[in-house]
Structure formats: C-alpha cells, structure tokens
Symmetry: C2
Subunit: 139 residues, 2 copies
C-alpha cells in the first residue's frame, strides 16, 4: 500500500491540496478529466444562467453518467468474455476428442500395416511353394 501524500490539483481554476493514497499522476489525470467537464459545460450558454446547486448536480450527474456507461460496457465485455470461455471450453473438448480419435485410428492403421506386410510375405511364400510344386509336377 502506498503512503498518503499531499497533492496539489487545480480544478475549475481553483487550487486544492488533496491528501490521499493515489499517485500524483493518477490524481492529475482525474483532475484533468473533471476540468474537461467544466470546460464542456461552460461552452453551453444555458449553463451559466443556472444556480450553483444545479450546476454542481449537473456536473455530478454527468460524471456519474460516464461511470454508469463504463459499467454497462464492462458488463457487456464480461458477458462476451464468459461466452468466449464457454466456447474455448467446448473447443478444448473437441480438440481432445479429435486427438483421441486420431490416436486410435493411427494405432489401427499401424496394426493393419503389420498384418498387411505379413499377408504379403505369406503371398510370396505361397507363390514360391506353388511354383516349386508345379515344377515337381513336370517331372
């Protein structure tokens, strides 16, 4: 855990000294984001006519809206990631099943090759014996 530090930020042209565990870089990024919101609001003419309470609430709602929208995206991404996990799980099973089939058929092929070679030898032997037998017949 970081230690608490005093960090100076400028928000809406006012200087504040904040004390927290976050890094100065992080707090400056947050301050810069909030300043962006103030700037955005100030470009709207209607905003300047509002009372301070409403101005504050609108800014809070605007930031909270960014937060809620990020949460929605996060939920969608989590669901997408979960779907991919299921797909991966099924595919891993498919790979294993495919590999098992491949191993079994490879083994079957090897055994059949052996038997086929034996059969070939038997054919050569029988052909030789038959040739010999026919020679004997001739005498």
């Amino acid at each position: 855990m970081n230690t608490m530090t005093d960090i100076e930020v400028i928000i809406n042209n006012k200087r504040f000294t904040l004390c927290g565990y976050e890094s100065p870089e992080y707090l400056q990024r947050v301050a810069s984001y909030i300043n962006g919101k103030y700037l955005e609001f100030k470009t709207k003419e209607s905003y300047s006519r509002l009372d301070d309470n409403l101005k504050n609430v609108l800014l809070e709602i605007n930031i909270a809206d960014d937060y809620f929208k990020a949460l929605k995206k996060l939920k969608e991404k989590e669901e997408e990631s979960d779907r991919k996990s299921t797909e991966l799980f099924n595919m891993k099973h498919e790979v294993i099943s495919s590999q098992t089939k491949l191993d079994s058929i490879t083994q079957e092929l090897l055994e059949l090759k052996k038997e086929y070679n034996e059969a070939q030898k038997r054919i050569v032997k029988l052909e030789t014996e038959l040739e010999e037998s026919k020679k004997h017949q001739q005498f």
Copy 2:
C-alpha cells in the same frame, strides 16, 4: 432515439427537475448513486468542516475515481477478451488441422483395408491352388 422528458430527482435533499434523453429509471439510479456518495461523505466528521468548494470537488473526484477504476477494469476485460479471441483463433486452426489429419488417415485406412482384403483373397486362392497342385503330385 428517445424524446426529451422532464424528470424530477432528489439529490442531497434538494429537488431538481432535469430535462434529458435518458429514461426516468436510469436517472433515478444515477441520483441514488450520487446520494449514496453524499451519505458516505456525511458520515466522515472531517468532511463537514470543509468549505463548499472543496466538498464539491471531493465529491466530483470520488465519482470520477469510480469512473476511472471502471475504465481500468474495462481495459483489463478487453485485453482478456482479446487474448481469448486469439486463443480461439488458434484452437479453431488446431481443430481444422486435426480434422484434416483425421480425414486423411481415415482414407488411408480404408484403402489399406481394401488392399488387405485383396491380399486375403489372394492367399485363399494360392492356398487352394497349392493344395490342388499337391494332390496332382500324389497321383
């Protein structure tokens, strides 16, 4: 796109009428979240002694902090989802390659079975011929 509607919300015990495109349910959820923040802050004795400007800024930073933390999680989830996509892509290739091998070896096995059957028939034929030939020899 929804039409703009006037929605009444109560934030920090003050009533506001907001005009926006969001649904009333959504804005009430946002208002309830912001009220939670006010409540949380009010339980801290040190907060009540601060001036209004600093109170507002602290609240804005707190909400923005939730937003930034959600963004961080979102980024991590996006990276996780991307990694899974790569894994799925590679696994799909593995499945296809495995299936191609399986098809090829199945074909090889079928052809060898045919040749083996032919060899078996040839053996039976040769054995019969040899037997016949040996019978002739005996006469």
